[in-house]
Each structure stands twice: as structure tokens, then as C-alpha cells.
Symmetry: C2
Amino acid sequence: MSRKSLAIGKLSPLLGYHLRRASGAFALDFHEAMSGTGMRQVLLGILAVVDANPGVNQGAVGTALGIKRANMVSLINELVYAELVARVVAPEDRRAFSLTLTEAGQAMLADCIDRIERHEARMLSDFTADEQRTLIQLLARIEARKP
Amino acid sequence: MSRKSLAIGKLSPLLGYHLRRASGAFALDFHEAMSGTGMRQVLLGILAVVDANPGVNQGAVGTALGIKRANMVSLINELVYAELVARVVAPEDRRAFSLTLTEAGQAMLADCIDRIERHEARMLSDFTADEQRTLIQLLARIEARKP
DNA sequence: TATTGTTATACTCTATAACTATA
DNA sequence: TATAGTTATAGAGTATAACAATA
């Protein structure tokens, strides 16, 4: 029965490979954790950034999260349609939209953050608090390296 | 001119968020590094696993890399069509395919690994060797957590 | 002219279900 | 009946280019 697990060869010393696999594992469990909420990783990112920056422009949210303008459109449409985000023309620049969370959006964010905390605790159950901090700090330095 | 960068709020302590962003940043630079080769992250993973396990079955490669059987089909087709992978019916199980790298496949893998090493060196230029090892080890523990 | 958001579009990755041929 | 691979299909993320309205 014991199926010998395969060698990954030249992939093993490559950080990019491990990043991809670890990120995929997290995404999969994240997806399960969100079951029933309708939320996905991108949407939750947007909710969190709008929450932290009420009145922020649509484009600025995209920039903060690495989402292209063109792709923001339908994502924001989804959130507005779900009545989680309110979108009004920005008074000081009528080209732009000013975004805020609705009450339902705030409740959704709070619920999802709860779920995510349990999901992360599950994924990281054999990591010390120190290891978790180290990991986040190292990853944050990689993100920052984007020119 | 200085555009204030936006707060990411409740995302900041979430490991999953940082994993996703760091993995995305790596994927983007990986893509540039592969320019002209026609290789992508998944395809390179397959080449590396076939290289490390000559004669391996198609399904086993998928399992090792977390790729579903159904999705392996067109990926292997691509590699066979590009004459990087040779696919023959497995002598001991005629349902299965036995995969090996062609000479062109070995050359492609070698070229891409060179490019990837430069790409990773670029992404990790301000990381010590110790930090890189730590990061890989922590990530590998997350991958292993997949049930 | 530059910027904000929009539309249209295409490619890739991933997922499920139903099928075939071998075992 | 179980497994290896296949087909068809759908959802999601991301990319580019051309456009309208506003600055």
C-alpha cells in the first residue's frame, strides 16, 4: 500500500516552488473556511482595505492589493451588488468612486476574519508564535521588493 | 507626488495574505525570467519531477505536484508536443503512461533552472543564506500539513 | 494630456463529472 | 470493482488594449 512519495528534484531548493505550494495549501483551506459566505481571497482583501480606509478610491484599493484597474470593476460590482460595499462618486474628483463598507459589509468582514483566524490557527498549529512572526516578516520583505 | 500607500488593515497579521502576495510577486518575476522559453511554473514543475523520476507515471507526477489528473492531460500534451517529454505506454501497466525527458527537455530544464536561479537571487538579494533556509523550511512545513 | 473607471477579450489554473480501457 | 488516463465544461484570477468622462 505505502506509495513512495516522489522526489521533486531540482525544485526542492527553489523558494518560488515552496511559496507556490504553501500559498496553494492555504488558499484551499481558506476556501473551505469561507464556505457559505460567498467570500473569496480577493474579495476579502478588498473588504479589509476599504474597512481600513473608508472613502478610498477604487483604483487605490487595487493598487494596494496588486489588482489591475480593469479587474477591479467586476469585483467591486460584486461587492456592491451583495450590498457589502457602498460606492458613491467621489465629491472631489468626479471620475472616481469613493468606497465604504455597509453595515452588512462590516459584519461580513468580522465574520470572515473570525473564520480566517480559526483557519490560520489550524494551518499553523505546530508553529510557535515566534515562527509565525518570522515567517510573516520574511514574506513581507519579499512583497516589498516589487519595484 | 508622494502617494501615501494604503493601510491593509486586518490583512496585516494574516499569514495567508502575505503568502499570497509573496507568491504572486515571485510568479510575476518568474514569468519574466522565462520569457522566450515558453515555460510556465506548472510546466517547469513537471519537467523537474520527470527529470528526478525517469519513467514515472503521469498520475504520480500530478500527485507529487498537487495537479489533478484531468488537468495533467493537456499539460503533458503540451510538453510532448514541444518534444520536451517522451510518453510511452508503461510496459507493466498498459493503462498508464511512462514519462521521461527528451534531450531537448533536459536542455530546457537546465536552461530554465539557470534562469530561475538568477531570478531567485534577484528576488532574494537582501536575504541572508540563513534567512532563505529558514523560509524554505517553514514553507515546507506548511505544504506538509495538507492532509 | 493624464487619470479614473469601463468594456471586451484572452489565457491560465483549478475543479467536477462522466467516460474508456485496462487491471 | 478499482485505477490511469481522457473529455467536456465551468469558475476564478490575471493580463492587455481601446474607450468615455473628467481633471
